[in-house]
């Protein structure tokens, strides 16, 4: 099936998410959509999948103009999409997830669909148990399930929005193989991603979006630099930071265990020294989150001891940790990091501890003015956090950090940021290391960890299975560790 | 009060605790007021019903009285025991207006200001008749009494019921005293307030389910009759005796043995005449039935309307009972009578005084149920 998009428009108020996009996807090919954050990739795909209404433009399927408004219509026309954030039902079983949307009526159809599902699983030699609850699956498995469901609907064109975030290289291989297989069976695949590597590995052709418009497209073999310039204007400069010598021990953990995420954390023992920049590698939810939250004093360890500068912190409350200069920035900004309905100015007033009973509004205002200036946050003191873009929210959070912090705990600090913002963030953080602040960050992107961290902890199933200096290891070795092989 | 000028009508106000159309206590008062309008020309009634904190949250008696006085009321009647404090307070605020508190005793206790009088009917006679027919009818000898809240008045009425029943059981039917069971269950107020009072429907059902075949209602509403109707539909034998209102048996002739009712007209008229003449005085009026014809609307404050389920012979026995009471041949408040705890209420041969009857400190020996909210 051949898809052609003509002069597609999607506007959110003043924001032109898609602004006159033309794009053609040939039958039986794998087509890559590249672009920085907010380039308009997801939006375009959601329109194509009928999930959101378009503001203007035409969708042409096999030379016929098609006008549809719901995902149902789209899948009836053979178009199905794997969304950036998985749209399934964690509390229900795999089989139930598979059935919802296909099965109707009141007669019990479980058996028929069980067969159907098991056939598909075998066909792609996946390993999913139809009877476990989806919340027990890994992100990768959830994608697989979703894909099988779409295929069982008779999908001709499969759209995947950033399917490679947060899944292991093994799962990624499995996924890519099945995609290749689909293409060979004559189906079209559209792959949305930030990641050049993925597109290069898989796609027959890529189209690059930027600020809602097509900046170019390219056949195999690809010229990485040219693609980068299409994505970001000029190719981004790789981050550099001058080496610092470490000071005394900031944080030391002994046999710390804790609950949380899927795996929890078990018997973790490390020391962190002033000025160290430590990267936490591993699949999403292998214990990094718990580790960071325990270190930040948000989660209480079930056993083991933890101390700052030699002072035992066990039994101390969050406040004590703050006093010790620990700062934690969560991955999800609006969910965990900021107050969506509060203005930038109110955020500063809130941060301003002090014991005064009344709020010093004028001070807060002036401070927010200068900080937004300094951190290049696009917004006025009265802009509410929700109205800021993802990157600007990240900048706002960083601008709220106090200089006196001794330990920075950052959960995926560059998640969803484009390369420029990313570089800016690292440049900013490196200044903290110079001030003898220890920085611990987690990331799903190995290359990033390799380029930034000078010490790397690899998490697997809630344990640290590798703890090395950056210059003593390489990507291959880490990748294996992440997959559980040491 | 002062004599009303001939041209402008004499307005009197009525504060009803329940709905004016409740087929019970409040409707009896409402119709009493209508009777006044009919019989004394140039009188006009204004009323407000459901005057109780559950139905009218935030409303106080003085506030309502203020309003009625504004509307020109020169005499105001409060028909419920629990308006006692409010009406007294209001009477103090409006010394130029006359007040009647039904079932109160401020005049006896001397707490009443000069412009507040008390009025009540000797319902114990009505209740005796109710108890009488109940005992005459009951097959199982188990009589249930659906009591409202516990106070002197309700104890008095429940006890009168029991005395009537005991008289029928022992003297008329010559049955063994031990076989008569008279159970009083209090719900907590004059009518059901969900989550506040016990549910009279459930209480009545329990009576019938556990062998009681006659339920006498001491409350203002008609649950007893409704449930009895349900029970005969189920094929059980069930009778009920409502309270307060002459029409309470309507549509329930299959189960209703009769109803002891108030006829407020005569009492109202006497007070309003006085007030119009400017001779209103603080007095305590406790009116008896007109024994010549207890159902005479112009003269008898207490009546007993016979119900469709009353058997002929019971009816005859009842007539005899009534004439004996009327002739004074029979006074059930005659000693020896004992309180529930065995202490003496009336010594042998002693006849109770009005005060002794009015202030009934406990239920009588032989009745079961709580004597006071402990």
């Amino acid at each position: 099936m051949r898809i052609e998009l003509r002069d597609m428009h999607k506007h959110y108020g003043s924001i032109k998410a898609n602004n006159g996009i033309n794009l053609t996807v040939e039958e039986g090919t794998i087509h890559g959509i590249l672009g920085e954050n907010g380039a308009g990739k997801s939006t375009l795909m959601k329109v194509l999948a009928g999930y959101i209404p378009k503001t203007g433009g035409e969708i042409i399927i096999d030379d016929k103009i098609q006008d549809y408004h719901t995902p149902a219509d789209a899948s009836r026309r053979g178009i199905g999409m794997l969304y950036q954030e998985p749209l399934d039902y964690p509390p229900l079983t795999v089989l139930e997830n598979f059935m919802i949307g296909q099965a109707g009526g009141v007669s019990n159809k479980t058996l028929r669909f069980r067969e159907k599902l098991e056939d598909l699983i075998r066909h792609f030699n996946f390993t999913i148990d139809p009877d476990v609850r989806v919340k027990q699956l890994t992100v990768g498995e959830r994608q697989q399930l979703e894909m099988l469901r779409l295929l069982s609907l008779g999908i001709e064109v499969l759209i995947l929005d950033e399917p490679t975030t947060g899944i292991s290289d093994l799962q990624k291989e499995a996924l890519f193989n099945s995609l290749r297989r689909l293409a060979s069976e004559g189906k079209s695949v559209i792959l949305v991603s930030h990641k050049l590597k993925d597109s290069e590995a898989l796609c027959d052709r890529v189209t690059v979006l930027r600020e809602g418009e097509v900046t170019g497209s390219m056949e195999k073999p690809y010229d990485a630099n040219e693609l980068l310039s299409m994505m970001f204007g000029e190719p981004p400069l790789p981050s550099t930071r001058s080496p610092v010598e470490y000071g005394g021990t900031v944080l030391s953990m002994k046999n710390i265990s804790g609950l949380g995420e899927r795996t929890g954390l078990s018997r973790c023992t490390i020391d962190v020294r002033e000025g160290e920049m430590i990267g936490l590698a591993g699949l999403e939810g292998s214990g990094q989150g718990v580790f960071l939250r325990i270190a930040a004093g948000i989660t209480k360890p079930t056993d083991g001891s933890l101390s700052f500068f030699g002072e035992d912190m066990s039994g101390k409350n969050l406040h004590a940790f703050k006093k010790a200069g620990v700062v934690f920035l969560p991955a999800s900004r609006l969910e965990e990091g900021l107050m969506p309905d509060l203005s930038i100015q109110e955020h500063f007033a809130l941060k301003e501890g002090g014991s005064s009973f009344f709020v010093k509004w004028d001070e807060a205002r002036s401070e927010s003015r200068e900080k937004t200036e300094k951190f290049r946050v696009k917004g006025t003191p009265d802009t509410i956090a929700e109205a800021l873009s993802g990157g600007n929210q990240q900048r706002l959070m960083l601008s709220l950090l106090s200089k006196e912090s001794t330990l920075l705990l950052l959960e995926q600090p560059t998640r969803g940021l484009d390369v420029e913002s990313t570089n800016w963030v690292w440049w900013h953080l490196s200044k903290y290391c110079l001030r003898k602040t220890a920085v611990i960050f987690s990331s799903t992107d190995l290359d990033e960890i390799m380029s930034i961290a000078d010490r790397i902890l690899v998490f697997f199933d809630g344990t640290i299975i590798k703890d090395v200096k950056r210059d003593k290891t390489d990507t291959k070795e880490l990748a294996k560790a992440i997959a559980g092989k040491v | 009060g002062y004599a009303a000028a001939a041209d402008k009508p004499f307005t009197f106000g009525l504060l009803l605790v329940g709905p004016y159309n409740d087929h019970g206590y409040s409707q009896a008062h409402y119709e009493g007021g209508e009777y006044v309008e009919r019989t004394i020309p140039g009188t006009k009634m204004i009323y407000i019903d459901k005057v109780n904190p559950a139905d009218r949250p935030g409303i106080t008696i003085p506030q309502l009285v203020d309003d009625m006085v504004e509307k020109g009321a020169e005499l105001i009647i409060a028909n419920s025991d629990d308006m006692k404090d409010g009406i007294r307070e209001a009477a103090r605020m409006h010394p130029e207006t006359d007040f009647i508190h039904i079932s109160g005793d401020d005049v006896i206790t001397g707490m009443a200001p000069k412009n507040l009088a008390n009025l009540f009917g000797r319902m114990e006679y009505g209740k005796m008749m109710a108890g009488f027919v109940a005992a005459m009818t009951s097959q199982t000898g188990k009589i249930g009494y659906l009591g409202p809240l516990v106070n002197d008045e309700t104890r008095r009425l429940a006890s009168s019921c029991y005395l009537g029943a005991r008289y029928a059981w022992e003297t008329v039917l010559k049955k063994d005293p031990a076989d008569l069971k008279f159970q009083v269950t209090w719900i907590g107020f004059w009518f059901n307030i969900p989550g506040v009072t016990a549910d009279p429907t459930q209480v009545a059902q329990n009576f019938f389910n556990s062998g009681y075949d006659v339920v006498i209602s001491g409350i203002d509403t008609t649950e007893a009759v409704v449930v009895a109707n349900q029970k005969i539909k189920e094929g059980k034998e069930a009778w009920a005796i409502p309270y307060d209102y002459v029409g309470a048996c309507e549509g329930a002739s299959a189960v209703c043995l009769g109803v002891p009712y108030f006829n407020w007209g005569p009492g109202y008229v006497s007070f309003i005449k006085k007030s119009m003449a400017g001779t209103f005085a603080s007095e305590w009026l406790w009116l008896s039935p007109d024994w010549k014809d207890i159902n005479n609307i112009d003269t008898s404050t207490i009546g007993f309307a016979r119900g469709g389920a009353l058997s002929a012979e019971s009816g005859i026995a009842l007539s005899a009972f009534i004439s004996d009471l009327g002739a004074g041949k029979l006074n059930l408040f005659t000693g020896p009578l004992f309180y529930q705890d065995g202490s003496v209420y009336l010594k042998k041969g002693a006849v109770a005084t009005d005060k002794e009857i009015w202030y009934m400190k406990q239920l009588l020996k032989g009745m079961s149920g709580q004597s006071s909210a402990k």
Partner: protein
């Protein structure tokens, strides 16, 4: 609700806000009036007469105005309290029970002063106790929420019924009048313990000034103090509390204490200023009504009292309906509910309109 971006100046925002507000008001009122009229006609009564009597019955004379204000005082107190809990995103439906417990604690203290000596001392002590009682009852709900993880709505509801049980038990049990157990409540307080009032309009100046203070204090607390800011922040996103080192539980409890305290004060007013004794229905549903007031005033501390006054007028005036038109007075409740619904509808409709406008922006 929030402006799409902070660029336009606060001034222009304010006056078009006012314009919007007045337009909404008109629409809402129109909707409600037509709805109510329909209901009244359904009940077979003359609508105009009904409205006339409600108006005359509430503002027709000084005495009536006094009655209105006497209702307005507890209503306003409860509303002020609720603003704190709404700020932090708690639905303190337990306010009803908090009023009751305030009244119970007040009565408990006053029972020691039944002989009428040292009246002022006992009154002050009683009001303090009332505040404490309400706050305590709110704290229980607060702890159930923060420690027990019980949704405050159900905790509150449950506690309302429990409070109802306690007050009944006291009135029919330990605190009953000698030999009598009746809904008419506990023994009447001696006159010394009644809140003094101006007899011509039956209005207690102390109560009035308390209510006014409550409004001002609340306004300042919410706008200019750390506490107010923190409540707003946590209401916006409790998950980010740890970033700003805010103790969510502490502030939840704090908000509950404020709400309960004001509610308890309302309870004290009911006992000392209105009924002069403890009755089972002492709360007069002002707690629930205050929730409507808060919603209708869009949680605004200045609009709140105005709405409260209007609601009080409805409550007092509606007594005329049964007297003059043989209609049930619960019409007032219908009108109040309809108002809130209509307001919500208009509000929603505005948001829709704005979104559609943006969708079609080119």
């Amino acid at each position: 609700m929030q402006e799409s971006n902070g660029i336009n100046t606060s001034v222009s925002r304010r006056d078009n806000a006012i314009a919007r507000f007045s337009r909404d008001l008109v629409i809402t009122v129109l909707v409600v009036v037509s709805f109510t009229t329909l209901i009244i006609v359904l009940a077979g009564a003359p609508p105009l007469a009904a409205y006339y009597h409600i108006f005359k019955g509430s503002l027709g004379s000084w005495v009536k105005l006094g009655h209105v204000i006497r209702v307005w005082i507890p209503l306003t107190l409860c509303t002020c309290g609720l603003l704190y809990t709404f700020r932090i995103g708690l639905w303190n439906i337990g306010v009803e029970g908090q009023v009751i417990m305030g009244a119970v604690f007040t009565t408990y203290v006053l029972r020691f002063g039944m002989d009428g000596r040292m009246a002022n001392f006992f009154l002050i002590a009683a009001f303090t106790a009332g505040v404490a009682g309400g706050a305590l009852w709110a704290l229980i709900a607060g702890y159930l929420k923060t420690k027990g993880g019980v949704n405050e709505i159900f905790a509150g509801l449950g506690l309302n019924f429990v409070a109802q049980g306690i007050i009944l038990w006291l009135i029919f049990g330990p605190w009953k009048r000698a030999g009598i157990a009746s809904m008419s409540g506990t023994e009447l307080l001696p006159r010394e313990l009644w809140l003094s009032y101006v007899s011509t309009i039956r209005l207690s100046p102390l109560g009035l000034s308390l209510a006014l203070c409550a409004i001002i204090v609340t306004a300042i607390m919410l706008r200019y103090t750390k506490i107010g800011l923190c409540l707003k922040a946590l209401g916006s996103n409790p998950n980010a509390a740890h970033i700003f080192d805010l103790n969510t539980r502490l502030y939840m409890l704090l908000a509950m204490v404020f709400a309960g305290g004001f509610a308890g004060l309302a309870g004290s007013m009911q006992v000392t200023g209105v009924y002069h004794r403890l009755i089972p229905a002492i709360s007069s549903n002002y707690g629930y009504l205050a929730l409507l007031v808060a919603m209708l005033s869009n949680y605004n501390v200045w609009i709140g009292p105005v709405v409260a006054f209007f609601f009080a007028c409805l409550n007092v005036g509606s007594i005329q309906l049964p007297m003059m038109l043989q209609m049930d007075s619960s019409l007032s409740g219908v009108i109040q509910g309809a108002l809130v619904l209509a307001a919500l509808a208009v509000h929603a409709w505005r948001i829709r309109a704005r979104r559609i406008a943006e969708e079609t922006w080119y």
